[in-house]
């Protein structure tokens, strides 16, 4: 290195290091626009947003923001709406992920077999994934409306409700409306991901199992599931995080109502920021949600590393 320092500029050594510098800089040059945008529009606001959680900051109440330490979190602790939203988040996420996964696994197993008209069927069953979420939300709130939708009549026909009314209007049942829409929208995603994993399982395994006299159920539990398990864990984890953060359907279908019965944490963040312009509280809720999701991810990753080692 010391030789390079004493070299005259423009000497072999200097030219070499300039070429080396060029090589080091080249990938960064291609990455620069991406990094600038992500830094400026996502990471910097993320830092600012984390800061808001510790400030008293409401656009409707004039006056500069001031640091208040953990006050926002203390307010949350005493806020029954927050606890309600936390419980709803668990129901919403748990039910959506379970039903999407079950539906998606079934669909992927079906699509992984041979049958007539496969291309067409595949295109049709994946279509819900492409429908804009606001439209999914509106369509399902219309389907659930007894004036123009058939679903209330089906439910009362099945004896699930006494008379055909709108389940979105009843605080006890309203959350199931967005969950239904979410299942419809999310089954294709699970099916696509699991289908990709399924097609990666070597078919010799099944042939060998068949020769050894394994039943279909045995090859499913002894070959398919163990092969899919690591993929299932990571997909379920990412999906859970995504769904817990997914406020669009609930916001459009119920706005969190009736009487806050369908508010989940993420929709509560949005209504607090959007309707009340209370950025301090909104950010405090967001920080709680972020912390919960991080704990959840850490647990699932630990489970996954045990699965992979086995």
């Amino acid at each position: 290195m010391s030789a390079a320092l004493t070299d005259t500029p423009g000497g072999t050594r200097g030219r070499l290091s300039r070429a080396y510098l060029g090589m080091v800089a080249e990938p960064w040059l291609y990455l620069l626009p991406s990094l600038l945008l992500i830094g400026g529009v996502m990471l910097l606001p993320l830092a600012i947003g984390l800061g808001y959680a510790f400030q008293e900051f409401n656009l409707l109440r004039p006056g500069a923001a001031k640091w208040v330490g953990l006050d926002n979190f203390q307010d949350l602790w005493a806020d029954p709406q927050f606890w309600r939203a936390l419980r709803n988040t668990l129901v919403w996420t748990g039910a959506s992920v379970t039903l999407q996964f079950a539906g998606g696994l079934g669909l992927a197993l079906l699509l992984n077999t041979r049958f007539h008209g496969k291309k067409l069927v595949q295109a049709l069953v994946f279509l819900p994934w492409a429908v804009p979420t606001f439209l999914t939300a509106l369509t399902f709130s219309w389907l659930l409306n007894p004036v123009i939708g058939p679903v209330p009549y089906w439910l009362s026909g099945l004896g699930l409700i006494e008379e055909p009314y709108n389940i979105l209007g009843n605080p006890d049942t309203a959350l199931w409306g967005p969950i239904l829409a979410n299942v419809w929208y999310g089954v294709p995603f699970f099916a696509i991901t699991l289908l990709a994993a399924l097609s990666a399982i070597p078919s010799e395994l099944y042939e060998a199992a068949e020769i050894d006299g394994a039943s279909g159920w045995q090859s499913f539990t002894k070959i398919t599931l163990p092969f899919l398990a690591p993929m299932i864990v990571i997909t379920v984890m990412l999906r859970t995080i995504w769904i817990a953060n997914f406020a669009d359907l609930i916001y459009v279908m119920t706005g969190g109502g009736p009487a806050n019965s369908t508010q989940i944490l993420s929709s509560y963040i949005f209504t607090t920021a959007f309707k009340r312009l209370d950025f301090g509280h909104a950010s405090a809720i967001a920080v709680v949600l972020l912390a919960l999701l991080m704990i959840y991810a850490a647990i699932l990753l630990a489970v996954r590393s045990r699965l992979v080692r086995r």
Binding site: F115, V121, L127, P132, F140, F279, A282
Partner: protein, 279 residues
């Protein structure tokens, strides 16, 4: 699970039945949307829940096309197309760097990109609103374009990387040995091979930008710059009894998504597994 041997006929029938159920589940809500959209106004209350309307009409579509929705539609097209185009170009650069170079800090950058997909995006809705307001860009389409571009870059970058990974490195090295600069090699050899990948990226990003609603609600409050979702939601809360028109507008919102879906269908599996992070 390749079918070995002869499966029982009852099993085969069950399989087709299950497939039919999935298709019906996927299509019924969309059928209903279209059905109400073509039901004449006078029949909505008497036939609202009939499975097949006794008469059909284009009136609802005609009225929607003569209203503000045309402007909302135009705004959404501008926002979604610009977002898709800018994202594809920028992400192509990043994806190329990720695919072709080994450099210090690569793991860090990739961890940062993953991080952006994990945290609740709503955390930044308030700071973004503040920043956009202080720049005087509230109620403007560029504010949405820049925000959506940033949101979509991480996923698009991983997707482009997977497409570049599929193109042998030897191809451009051969071109560079034959005297091309890297730029020439890129333009003449790599770009034509990347076009399908660019197309898929455009499709994914367009679909995402077309359906985004929460940030659009926050940043756009004036009617003249509303995007389609915001306009439609506004319409729903104002005229919640005009079912036919709302659904006709809904059908129109569906059209671009379906076109792009038809186009990106082939890349779905690759797209969703390479990033594995995006709904």
């Amino acid at each position: 699970m390749a079918a070995l041997g002869r499966p029982h006929p009852a099993l085969v029938a069950g399989k087709y039945l299950a497939l039919a159920a999935y298709v019906a589940f996927a299509l019924f809500p969309l059928y209903w949307l279209v059905k109400i959209a073509v039901t004449p106004d006078r029949l909505i209350y008497s036939e609202g829940t009939r499975y097949w309307p006794s008469a059909a009409t284009w009136d609802n579509f005609r009225e929607v096309l003569g209203s503000d929705f045309l402007r909302f539609f135009g705004n959404s097209v501008i926002v979604s197309l610009s977002t898709a185009a800018i994202t594809a170009v920028i992400a192509a650069g990043g994806g190329y760097a990720f695919s072709r170079f080994d450099f210090r800090g690569k793991r860090l950058v990739s961890a940062l990109l993953l991080l952006t997909q994990m945290f609740p995006l709503l955390i930044i809705i308030a700071p973004i609103y503040r920043i956009v307001a202080s720049l005087g860009l509230l109620n403007t389409l560029p504010s949405l374009i820049v925000t959506y571009t940033a949101f979509n870059i991480p996923f698009a970058l991983f997707l482009m990387q997977s497409f570049f990974d599929g193109i042998p490195k030897d191809l451009e090295e051969a071109a560079m040995i034959d005297g091309c600069t890297r730029m020439q090699a890129l333009r003449k050899v790599i770009l034509p091979l990347t076009l399908p990948g660019l197309g898929a990226t455009l499709g994914f990003v367009f679909t995402a930008a077309w359906s985004e609603i929460l940030f659009a609600l926050m940043l756009i409050r004036k009617e003249e710059s509303m995007t389609f979702p915001v306009g439609l939601l506004n319409f729903v809360s104002k005229f919640s009894v005009d079912w036919g028109q709302m659904m006709a507008a809904g059908v129109l919102a569906l059209v671009p998504s379906c076109l792009f879906f038809a186009f990106i269908q082939r890349y779905l599996v690759q797209g969703l597994t390479s990033g594995a992070v995006k709904g």
